[in-house]
Amino acid sequence: MELKNKKWTEEEFLKMRKEVLTQWPTGKDVDFKEATDYIKALPEHKNFAKKLRKASQEGITLAQPRAGVALVDEHIKLLSYLEKEGGADLLPNTIDSYTRQNRYHECEVGIKESVKENRSMLNGFPAVNHGVKNCRRVVESVNLPLQARHGTPDSRLLSEIIHAGGWTSNEGGGISYNIPYAKSVSLEKTILDWQYCDRLAGMYEEMGVEINREPFGPLTGTLVPPSISNVVAIVEGLLAAEQGVKNITLGYGQCGNLVQDVAAIRALVEQAGEYFKFYGYNIELTTVFHQWMGGFPADESKAFGVISWGAATAALAGATKVIVKTPHEAVGIPTMEANAQGIKATKQTLNLLKGQRLPMSKELEAEIQLIKAETKCILDKVFEIGKGDLSVGAVKAFQTGIMDIPFAPSNYNAGKILPARDNNGAVRFLEFGNIPMSQEIKDFNRQLLEERANLEGRKVGFQMVVDDIYAVGKGTLVGRPEHK
């Protein structure tokens, strides 16, 4: 199939579906019509899109953890605990890494070993292997909406199974679940595969079932400049909209500087809104703010500091939901208790900040303008290079480094840009690679980094980047040289 940013025809979709549903035996249990009835029969409070809408109207920020283990009963126990003890507002089903690579045979091994060893040997819930019925068991056992959270380049079968299983939200996108998560999967393929997932969500919408879709905002989670992630978010949002998705949550991973983080969320909402409107899509847009996604401090008290500051920023930015880290982050998949602890610290902070927003200021205004200008520089070029077709543009943009994600493992990513923090901890561009920014923007970024270099008595360079990568884990935001 040729990649185009155009809604798939029913024929195209059904043809592909036949293939998809035979990728693993559990695929045969998917019955679209029956599934729509099933979801419609679920109580309203288990619908992701509806819960987000309510939060958005009330101006509150919801808290959602990450969580998933190998076995169904254990997984249900985990989610129930996060709901009851943790006070989560939305529940995830984090999918294991073998499923993400479509290695369902290895999942079987992991499931068996988990039974044998009596602890989860998988880092998530292998939803494909467990199939529709077990996904439904999960949704029926909890009282909150469910989402699949993964990192799967080809998530077509997974998406079929989770939606048929009553999970009303799916995270991911053709760029955001490829470049940070894969090495040698072509972007063309992942965009196509995610068009399938989006079209599937669109078909549910057309049947009157609301499905929320959430591109993965933080990408590599490590010093991603806001304009870079906002570009990806807007592109994936537009691609999803074209396939009929109606309810979209765009995301952003905390960088750590309050003004920049709030500006990023505001710029994202405003700019995405403009693009949706310009291209004629009627989208219900919400936002997700990810607590710091890079390396964490191993000390649990320090981790609580990072978690709470993320929660506070999410509230001050007015994000619709916040994805919660845990005090175990630096070390390993959290226990159920540690996971609940992260949610509790988060919710306490959100509640203290309910209704509070960062007021508009000269600084905030300037940062919003900067992010929007940077974002526009890139997006203009993406449309140009795709000759008006956004999907083609995106593929070419990655080929040529017009879009480029720092620290990404993918061979399809140029890997030429480098980010570093300025003196206030805001993430700036140290190397632009082929990112097409105006000279003014380039000079401004450079100037900010030179200011930092001056203060630190060293040159702007890669050591600064390395120091910044370690910084939060070592307890600071900016990675200053040790002796200064």
Binding site: S97, R119, Y181, K183, T220, G295, A298, G332, P334, F462
Partner: protein, 135 residues
């Protein structure tokens, strides 16, 4: 002559940041780094070591499946003729926050010469490499 070191992240693991930083640090420290990157199979490691005649293989695993992914690597090395090649493993090797000693033991029993807990800085690694390779 510079010692050659094969570096990579094993299994279905995509964590690339630590890999890039390790590459930078090992290169700075004077090693010739053969970085096979993330999402590398046992075979990828072994082939790279054979092709480059490397002195050590450094396996990273961050995502939790390290235990499953690393099993049998020593045996496969032996089979491929990589006798006594140094095998190090580090990252976040297992699922969850576990007592470190049993984890270390499990990996040493698998044939790893050195095993590192989460957050071990590259310097430790480098020091040990110099020691073990008698540089």
């Amino acid at each position: 002559m510079k010692k050659k070191i094969v570096l990579g992240v094993i299994g279905a693991d995509c964590h690339a940041v630590g890999n890039k930083v390790l590459d930078f640090a090992l290169t700075e420290a004077g090693f010739e780094v053969v970085n096979i990157g993330v999402l590398s199979s046992q075979e990828d490691f072994i082939n790279a070591a054979i092709e480059t005649d490397a002195s050590a293989i450094i396996v990273s695993s961050l995502y939790g499946h390290g235990e499953i992914d690393c099993r049998g690597l020593r045996e496969k090395c032996e089979e491929a003729g990589l006798k006594d090649i140094l095998l190090y493993a580090g990252g976040n090797l297992v699922v969850g926050k576990q007592d470190w000693e049993p984890v270390r033991k499990r990996f040493q029993e698998m044939g790893f010469d050195r095993v590192y807990p989460p957050g071990t800085p590259p310097e430790v690694d480098i020091e040990h490499l110099k020691e073990d390779l008698k540089i």
